[in-house]
Every structure is written in C-alpha cells, then in structure tokens.
C-alpha cells in the first residue's frame, strides 16, 4: 500500500469495531454461553472489550460534525467519474461494507446523482453479474456488477464463468477492506475467479485505481471479450483525493485485417459471380450495421445467426437467405469459418495462461477430437484470418467502394433483386413447412410450447422486442415463427449451460430496453427461475419492461429425462425418476411468487384459449413500465 495518510488510524478503529460488534452480539444472545458464542464467531482469539466509540458506531448513534464534511473530494467520487466518462449506464449490486464509500458516491455524486451509472439493486451477486451478461448481449457493451469482498465474489462465481464462456464483457468491481471484517477480505481477491476472468487488478493507490477501471473496461470490450475485475481498497475509496486529476479515457484500438487483406477480399467479393457472406455473432450493433452495408454493396446473399444468438445479420433483410443460387463462388465468413475466407476474432484459448488454477475448462482447452464450442479456440481453418471481423469491416467496405465500377454496380443491383425474390420464396416455403409441426397439440392442456410462441407473435411483431431468455427448453419455436431483425432480437443460450440465467439475463436486457422504448420477453423455465428469483423484485423496483411467461413444466425436465433414461439403462424402472428432478408436492405458484415480489401477475393457465388475453394484459402492463408474469402450465417439451 503506497498511500496510507492517516488511514491506519481509521483501520485500527474499524478493526476494533468489528471485534466490538462480535462481542456485543455475543452478549446479546441469551441462552448462549460465551464459549458457544466464541465458537460461532471467528477464531478462539480473546475478544477485547469494545471502546465507547466502537459501541457507538455499531449502534449507529454517532453523528458526524454538523458543518464540516469529513472528506471534501472522496476518492470514490473520482472512481465514479471515470465510470461516467466511459458511458456506463448501470451498476448492479447489493450493499457490502467493502464498497460503502463507492456506493455512497454512486448514489450521491454527480449532477444529477445516481445517473450514468444508475444503481440497480440486485438481490444476489450471481444475479448482478448475469444482469450485466444479459445487458451486454443486448447492447454490445458492459455494465457494472458490484460485488462484496470475498463472499460476494464467491456468490458471483458461476455467472462470471458463464459470461466468460459466452465471451461477453462485464465490468466487475469488488471492495477490499483489510480492517473491518477479516472474513471478507483476501490478499489476492481475484484469485478465486481468475481462471475465468479475462483481466483483473488490485491497485495500490487511488490513482492506479482510476486507470485500472479504464483498463478493465477496455480489456472487457477487446476480443476475446469477457468479464474483468477491479479490486478497490476501501482506503482509496475513502481517501481525500485533493487535486488528483481524473485521467482522460481512451477507447481501445481493436485490430482488424490490414489494408492488403482488405484489398484482396474486396477484390474477390467483387469478382465473384455469386458471392456470399456468412455472419455470426459480431461484437456490437455497429458491426451488424456494417455487415449489412457490405452485403448490400457487393450484392451477396447472406447467412445469419440471428435466430440462435445476438449481433447477427437481420433475418428478413432481402439478402438474408440462400439467395438465387447456392452455388457460391466466394464465401466470406464473419466470425465463422467459411470456404474461401473467414475473419474470426481471438477465442478464449488465447487467455489460457490465466487459467491459474489449471482447471482446464472444456471447450476452451483444445481437446483432440473435441467439438468446437462457444468458448472456442477462435480461427479453426486454414483460410481463417485471426482478426476481429467487426473491426475489419470499415476498411473492407472502404476498399469495396474504391473498387466498385458502374458496370459492377449494375450487375450487383440485378443480382440483389434476384436474391430478394428467391429469399422471399424460401422464407414462405420454410414457414409453410414449419407451421405443420407447430400445430402439434395446439388445443392440448397443459399448453403446448409452440402455442405460446404462436400466440405471442402477433402481439409483439409491431413492437421493438427482445427475446432475452434461452429458448431451447421451451422448444425454440420463435426460430421458425418470428422475424429476428435486430441485433438483440434473440440473445441466445446461457453461455455455459448454467441454470439460473433466464430471469437475470432478461432483467439485464430490460435495463438496456428501458430507455430505448423496447420490450423484453422472458420465456422462463421453472427450474431456472428458482436459483435466484429475487430478480423479479429488481424488475419491479426499477420498472423494467419485461414480460415473463412461465414454461412451467413443474420439473428440471431436461434432467428428469436423463435420469429416466438412466433408470432404463440400468433396468431399475422409471417410476422413481421424478425424485430430485421434479418440482411437485407442492407445485410452486409462480403468480404468487411474483406477487410476493410486487410483480403484477396471473395464472396458472393451462387452457391455451386463455393465453391471448393474458398475453395482451401482460404486454399492456409492460408498456406502462410494470413488469408482468404469467404462469403457464406447459407440456414438458
């Protein structure tokens, strides 16, 4: 620690206060012997008697001097200013003394206070990080998750891993207080999550803390994107900053392809008779815009990942689809391997050195014969260029424009018209086929999952909507029935298959949606919600535009099927397969659960003819800024 200026005194005081608190707590517990109280506490060390001052603080009766502010310019104000300068919209967390200084700045510093970022009250650290995960998938940029020292970081661990595996940027901050509660500090706070955190720092001065926040933000948004963590000591949060300047923020330079490559690819795209672009998950909405511009300039039919995840090519764009002919003579892949050329940003394998615990996460560590996974090793085929696709597009577009001739333009315009017509026909054909299977169990009770998606679509198709929850367990019927035209139309899977994701990710997406006149749809599986349902309260508290429709099959159904299969393989009968896999005896009442958190709700509904009216009520509520939950009892799959 470089700067202590007087903080030692304060630290000594706080240490005493902690011990004092423990001692007074012990003496308050009647029927408990002092020895027992000791065992429940920390160590067997003798507890010094608290001073009057310590007891007073603990009881909350100390008043600060009325006229003099203890600190004129607290370090945490500068921290918040740094976050403001980077355009961070939200910070989600629940209170912890390790960042009380910072929290005070979040809510009081600035004009107006508590804006950019706004404090979002999260009821669990896992929820805070997953909110940030969902927000980043919708918006292509991070928000902050604020975690209490040690224990808050531990609570957040799975969600940090999931965001990491999903290559999604999250800026995490944790506090560190050596003096107050020993159990909530650590020499190296980030160590417990370092193996799945992209970058972390534990700065030694206030000044370093400020630059660390900027560095962490830039690392988070530089591919491979991921969660980053800054440990902020309480003493830097609370110290008098005096004349210290807030460092100017400089965004990162993200490397794209070089001019030579851009020229070569542009030439190939323009020379081709039937060029194609394949677009998968880009980093930001800007990347999506650029991918459209490129496809339009060269008249390429385009494949999209918009039905499986965010930040891809608009599905109903006239160029999206197989095109007039599938005999493509030049295919360019953007963040996906393709026949002739692919531009693919670095994968998580480039971060392997950070796997300090040597965990060897599957799908990140290349495994012989293993399948590629989301966390993937980045470029995989010989033709692939390891560079961020989004950052490559401006140069590529510039090159194409430079090389375009009037003749080429004419040919391209003709080709585009043919593609548009062919893609329209292909869409009609696909949907005509799809609806045949979507009517399976149309009138059945409990409700068939396809009916939920079919009933919802006409009510949202003219809205700006975002489906934020993973849809695999509820049949993924939007893939065929809905149009995915926005970078955030569908935010895709959990990332690492970790349950407890749908609701908090939807809350995060709804944070993004709120100021953008957008609504968020959360088709929520029951097992997933029960990990940390407190996010429902967060949605209500912050008036988030989120419609939750339960896919309530009263089970961790995926696992029920697995266990049932196992029972069969072992010849022991499937009649006990429900043990530990089903959520019955009693059934959980989600409308009541939501109501308990203050959310408008209805259900359970098991008659499909009642869905449309309920969905309409729900959407009306959501558009008023009041989130809504509809419990629908569903067929399991």
């Amino acid at each position: 620690m470089a700067k202590k200026n007087g903080s030692l005194n304060r630290r000594g005081f706080l240490k005493g206060a902690a011990a004092g608190a423990a001692a007074s707590a012990a003496s308050l517990v009647t029927n408990t012997s002092p020895a027992e109280a000791q065992r429940g506490g920390n160590a067997a060390a003798p507890v010094p008697a608290p001073t009057q001052e310590q007891i007073a603080r603990d009881a909350g009766v100390v008043r600060p001097p009325a006229t003099v502010r203890a600190v004129q310019r607290p370090g945490s104000d500068l921290m918040v200013q740094v976050l403001k300068d980077m355009g961070l919209e939200y910070v989600a967390g629940n209170p912890g003394s390790s960042f009380e200084g910072l929290q005070e700045s979040f809510i009081n510093y600035g004009n107006p206070p508590n804006r950019m970022p706004e404090f979002i009250t999260a009821l669990h650290e896992e929820s805070a990080v997953t909110m940030a995960h969902g927000y980043a998938k919708a918006e292509g940029k991070p928000m902050i998750a604020l975690l209490h020292g040690t224990i808050g970081v531990q609570h957040a661990a799975m969600s940090i891993y999931q965001a990491y595996y999903d290559r999604t940027p999250v800026l995490m901050i944790t506090g560190r207080d050596e003096g107050f509660i020993q159990a909530h500090t650590a020499h190296d706070m980030s160590a417990m999550v370092r193996s799945f955190t992209k970058w972390d720092a534990q700065p030694r001065t206030l000044e370093e803390s400020l630059t660390a926040l900027q560095h962490a933000y830039n690392e988070a948004i530089t591919p491979p994107m991921g969660p980053t963590l800054v440990v902020l000591d309480t003493e830097f949060q609370k110290e008098e900053a005096r004349e210290l300047k807030v460092p100017a923020y400089r965004p990162p330079q993200i490397a794209g392809i070089d001019a030579g490559k851009a020229k070569e690819i542009a030439e190939a795209l323009l020379d081709a008779q039937n060029p194609r672009t394949e677009v998968r998950r880009l980093r930001t909405p800007q990347g999506v815009k650029l991918s459209v511009e490129l496809a339009e300039l060269v008249g390429a039919s385009t494949g999209t990942g918009a039905t499986t995840g965010p930040m891809s090519f608009p599905q109903r764009h006239p160029l999206c689809g197989p095109g007039a002919s599938t005999a493509y003579d030049y295919t360019l892949g953007l963040e996906i391997p393709a026949a002739q050329a692919s531009i693919i940003g670095p994968g998580l394998a480039t971060l392997l050195a950070r796997d300090t615990a040597n965990v060897g996460f599957g799908g990140i560590v290349p495994v012989a014969g293993g399948r590629g996974a989301r966390g993937g090793a980045g470029a995989t085929n010989a033709a692939a260029i390891q560079a961020d696709a989004e950052a490559s597009l401006p140069l590529l577009i510039e090159e194409v424009k430079r090389q375009l001739t009037a003749d080429k333009r004419r040919v391209i315009e003709e080709r585009k018209a043919k593609h548009a017509e062919a893609n329209r026909k292909a869409r009609i054909e696909a949907i005509t086929q799809a609806v045949e299977t979507k009517r399976n169990g149309w009138d059945s009770s409990p409700v068939a999952t396809a009916r939920i998606y079919a009933e919802l679509w006409p009510l949202i198709k003219n809205e700006d909507w975002c489906l934020a929850s993973p849809s695999g367990f509820s049949g993924g019927h939007h893939v065929q029935l809905w149009d995915h035209n926005k970078p955030y139309s569908y935010l895709g899977g959990q990332g690492a298959g970790g349950m407890g994701y749908g609701a908090p990710a939807s809350v995060g997406a709804a944070l993004a949606a709120k100021s953008r006149n957008r609504i968020v749809i959360n088709i929520q599986t029951d097992g997933d919600l029960n990990y940390a349902p407190g996010v429902l309260w967060t949605a209500v508290h912050h008036k988030l535009p989120m419609l939750t429709i339960m896919h309530n099959n009263r089970a961790w159904h995926q696992e029920l099927m697995f266990v049932e299969y196992m029972c069969g393989v072992r010849g022991r009968g499937t009649d006990r397969g429900h043990i530990g896999t089903s959520l019955r005896d009693p059934f959980i009442d989600y409308a009541k659960m939501a109501a308990g958190y203050g959310m408008a709700s209805e259900g359970p509904i098991s008659d499909p003819s009642k869905l449309a009216a309920a969905f309409k009520r729900g959407l009306d509520s959501v558009k008023r800024g009041e989130p809504y939950l509809i419990d629908v009892i569903t067929q399991p799959r």
């Binding site: 399948r371 198709k461 149009d483 196992m566 069969g568 010849g571 009649d575």
Partner: protein
C-alpha cells in the same frame, strides 16, 4: 470435455425439432385388454409424459403418427422390452428400456389402454388463423 459434451447434448436434444418417423395417421383398432384408468396413473408415475406429453401430442408425439410399435399390445410390450439397455452413458433423452421386473406385462397393457384413449385433437391448419397469418406475413416485407 464431459461438461461440454453434456452442455452440447442437452442444448442439442432440447433444440431438435421433434419429428418422429412417419407413422399411421389412423389410431390402431386392435383389441385392448388393460385398464385405462390404471394406465393413466402409470403413464404419469413412470414419466411417460416426460417425452410424449400428457396427451401424446407433443414432444416425441405419437398421436396421429402411430408407429407399428403401437399397433397392438404385443408389439408395444416387445418394444418396451427391446429398448437399448446397453446404451451410451452420455445423457440421453432416448426411450429407456422397460424390463419386465420393473414394468409388468399387465402394467404395460394398462398403459397401452390409456394411450389408446388419446385422440388427435389438433385442428386442421386451415382453421388456425394465427399460423395462417404468419405464413401470409412471410410474403410481405417484415414490419420491423
């Protein structure tokens, strides 16, 4: 790797559109000797509904798509007994094996009797306005 496979498996299995092989659209007419009432309880307690839906119309649906395995009681029992019992150990949603000591012939016949009460209740496509509208929209430019 196991984790990843697990994730891949459950994501894939849950994403797969469920098309059974084309079977008979007409329900079998073979004799039924079991008790449908008992069968109903067994269909639930043995978690048949888990994959085939409460009405046999969803998930791995069989109503309106009756396979030869469901043509009569004998076929059904042979099918239950013949399911793979030496199977890959990776998590699977394929049909489990039902050995006789875990599900008697009588119980199987009861389940069969219950299944045979299932009716093909889905409306004709032409009567489902919602789905027709979606098909119609596909020929127009997207609204958003």
């Amino acid at each position: 790797m196991k984790t990843i496979l697990g994730i891949a498996v459950f994501l894939l299995t849950s994403m797969l559109p469920i098309y059974a092989q084309r079977g008979n659209t007409q329900a079998p007419t073979s004799p039924v000797t079991g008790s449908a009432a008992n069968g109903k309880a067994l269909y639930y307690s043995y978690s048949c509904y888990a994959c085939h839906g409460y009405n046999g119309e969803t998930g791995r649906a069989f109503v309106g798509n009756w396979s030869a395995n469901l043509a009569n009681e004998e076929n059904f029992i042979r099918f239950l007994r013949g399911r793979a019992n030496v199977a890959p150990l990776t998590p699977s949603t394929s049909m489990p094996n039902f050995a006789e000591n875990t599900l008697s012939d009588k119980q199987a016949k009861d389940i069969y009797a219950y299944i045979r009460t299932f009716k093909n209740a889905q409306p004709d496509l032409k009567n489902i306005l919602l789905l027709n509208q979606i098909v119609e929209d596909a020929s127009k430019p997207s609204t958003r």
